[in-house]
Subunit: 363 residues, 2 copies
């Protein structure tokens, strides 16, 4: 058990945006919300899943929809607690804490806001170990946990409860509501017991985000050492560095979809990388050949500062590095790949772990 203070939040916001693989929201917006909440209500208690009672109840709170919209539609501030408390009351159970659904600049911060406002602990786990665009794309789903009852709200005050026959129907019905609400909404979903968090979540993700953020934000190291540290702490691979020469994107079906093209710099000058995304980065190809594939994490960072670049921050001329990290082992199972592998997203590619692709590349 420890408390998250301002420094911790600054680090978590950056590290979570890195693990958000382009999605999960803008870390600046997320950070401002969380800092404002702990300024008003005091630091937030962080518990590991070992420190919670197996029979207690926990609910996450998260943003759903196109992250780019949140930049324009800044939250009022009451919608996180509203959606969280709505689900709690509907379940009729005392809720003992909250946790993030996914890593991301905004989605790692929303539970901190809820925890601060309600004086509840934050649990050090999430449902992805990264970010993914759809509601059934969580390790809870892989473990047979129902996404519902869930609550959904918007910044205007509309609110709903859903109970569905399966998690794909939750995604379908929540998605159309989200689109109608203006392409973004707030959800509380996958209510879990402590025991379910202990067995079905991705553990210690808040702590990992904090470590990553601390490395990226450090002024004490030179850039080369920072990069080496970042790769060590994440088991990551440095795939490419270059300059963005093209960004195609659109907001369709409540998602940001598109592709960024990066021309190599220095010894990679003749090479080109393309990264395809749906809110999150899904596929990276070098000269047309896959070099990293969902569910492994494809993270774009600033060439020098290593600050994470979200999909809405992609722009012509920006110099970036492409890093890739192995995903949580749960995603590499048959059900994991069926849920979030390349074919689910419409790519006719077999999943190959990033470390194998990197080895092949090195030969």
């Amino acid at each position: 058990m420890r408390y998250l203070d301002e420094q911790a939040i600054e680090n978590i916001a950056v590290g979570a945006a890195f693990l958000g693989t382009g999605g999960g929201g803008d870390p600046y917006i997320g950070k401002m919300m969380a800092l404002s909440a702990i300024k008003e209500h005091g630091p937030v208690q962080l518990l590991s899943t070992d420190e919670i009672d197996a029979d207690d109840f926990f609910i996450p709170a998260a943003m759903m929809g196109a992250p780019s919209v949140l930049v324009e539609k800044f939250p009022k501030g009451d919608e996180f607690v509203r959606v969280f408390q709505k689900l709690g009351r509907y379940l009729g159970k005392e809720v003992k804490g909250t946790f993030p659904m996914e890593a991301g600049g905004v989605n790692s911060m929303i539970p901190i806001v809820v925890a601060a406002q309600l004086g509840l602990p934050l649990i050090d786990c999430d449902g992805m170990g990264r970010a993914f665009p759809e509601l059934q794309m969580v390790t809870f789903h892989l473990n047979g946990i129902s996404s519902t009852p869930m609550a959904i709200t918007d910044e205007k005050g509309n609110i709903g409860i859903m109970e569905t026959i399966d998690n794909q129907w939750t995604e379908r019905l929540a998605r159309v509501a989200t689109v109608e609400m203006g392409a973004s909404s707030l959800v509380s979903i996958y209510p879990c017991t402590g025991s379910e968090l202990q067995t079905a979540s991705v553990q210690n993700i808040v702590t990992l985000s904090e470590k990553i953020g601390k490395i990226i934000r450090s002024n004490e190291q030179d850039d080369t050492d920072k990069l080496a540290d970042l790769l060590t702490v994440t088991n990551g691979h440095h795939l490419f560095s270059g300059k963005i020469v093209d960004v195609e994107r659109g907001t369709t079906g409540g998602f940001n979809r598109g592709c960024v093209t990066i021309d190599g710099l220095g010894e990679m000058a003749d090479e080109q990388v393309q990264v395809f995304f749906q809110n999150e980065n899904l596929i990276a190809k070098k000269n047309g050949q896959p070099i990293a594939l969902t569910p492994d994490l494809i993270c774009l960072v600033d060439l020098e500062t290593l600050n994470p670049v979200t999909t809405e921050g992609l722009k012509y001329g920006k110099r970036v590095r492409v890093l890739a990290l192995p995903c949580d082992p749960q995603w590499r199972t048959a059900k994991g790949l069926e849920t979030v592998g390349p074919r689910y997203f419409g790519y006719d590619l077999d999943y190959v772990p990033v470390e194998e692709l990197a080895q092949k590349e090195a030969r």
Copy 2:
């Protein structure tokens, strides 16, 4: 107080389909559902709004979406009670009866099924005195009553609760859910106290439907007398008789939309009527000039039998009469016309009451 038996249901189904002005569902399907329910559970008690307690709670149950879909997607039978009980439990109040939202072959029958299955009375009122395609198009809305909390379900078992900031948002969010659920859903909406039913509903609509159905189904009168009786009991106008020569239609946004063209017969042989619909008939024009306008009721019936013809039953060659009835006076107020007048539906026409249009036509 009286009981609705098989004969009453047969009559109500036909009369309500007539008042459904093309929408509200197929009376054969509706009738079969209600007959089967009273066969199993016994006759249903019908109470006028004078016979209910002002402080008691009442909830309707209705189908939402494109009526044509219900013909293919026959209900399982448990979804009406499920949506009704869900809302009752959510409200945490004992529900003392049910009522139809609108007149229609199916939507007048669903509350009878619920009443029979749960042993509750049916209240002799509805929210329209006809059928309309959208959720805010009810006299309850005109009287400032909230449509929510509402419940929505589908035949698969997905279920939701919504609370919205206004009735237009209920329509928007329930509509996208309905479309995603396969273009039809079941809703329980506008929970009302007895006092609200006494002041804000359209009264005695079940009894009126029964009277209309009895005339149409009678074998004791010739067709001319039946027509005269039908016009007397409804204050109706006979506008046209002819043969359907064209039907344009499509299912868009969860609605059946289209236009039917009717060429005149006999002394009307040189004339042509077009009726435009969105689930319900909205505008009738003769030789390009309006002869009846929403919110007045435009009812197509079989030329001889006077059986109501729903929009999904329109077909080339069918011989029909076009009748028009004055709507409930609540619809002729400023707020009524703003909610369901021609301009709301996109027609650049001022509303003129059907009796004035008929007088002009007669001159």
